[in-house]
Symmetry: C2
Subunit: 108 residues, 2 copies
């Protein structure tokens, strides 16, 4: 998990509109126009968000007739979650070690 990738992935998740779109696609796949119909923004704006989400692998798109259906990739989100959890636990352990070292230094 490189730092850059993590940052861009979370930047993708860090926009409220984008999060709403993702949640909506988590319930069921939909086209850009369908999404725009439920949201207070243009289809073009939705398109840009979908582009961002697809770039980080959180959404997959598939042409179906004259419309393009987008779906949320749950696996990608789960993987991100697992990575985050691991990093957080590492920090907790490290902090505990530092604390222990400090206490040991206090009473040599």
């Amino acid at each position: 998990m490189s730092g850059t990738d993590v940052a861009t992935a979370f930047a993708a998740l860090g926009d409220e509109t984008r999060w709403n779109i993702l949640v909506r696609l988590g319930r069921e796949p939909a086209s850009a126009s369908a999404l725009a119909a439920d949201l207070p923004i243009t289809r073009q704006a939705v398109g840009k968000h979908l582009e961002v989400l697809r770039a980080v692998g959180l959404v997959e798109s598939r042409r179906q007739g004259r419309e393009v259906v987008h779906r949320a990739v749950g696996g990608r989100l789960s993987a991100l979650g697992r990575d985050l959890q691991r990093v957080g636990e590492t920090w907790e352990r490290r902090l505990a070690s530092l604390k222990e070292l400090a206490e040991r230094d206090d009473r040599p």
Copy 2:
């Protein structure tokens, strides 16, 4: 996990500089000036990032003499990770159900 909270939390993680600061604090606690010394930005800029991170509970700060020491809150990150993982798995399950329904409809 409300949508707004999630978005703001990930927005906090979505900036590369902020992520670098977090990782640095995950190795060991440090003051804003110490952080600024390692980074290509001003202490004031670091301060703003720390403010954002503290607002979402990813960093805790404690005055020690004349300096303020900041540390990464691993538990908060782990919790976020677990939430993400859960949401992702929900999506996967839902998508599987939809697929099964579609196939059942195909052969009535």
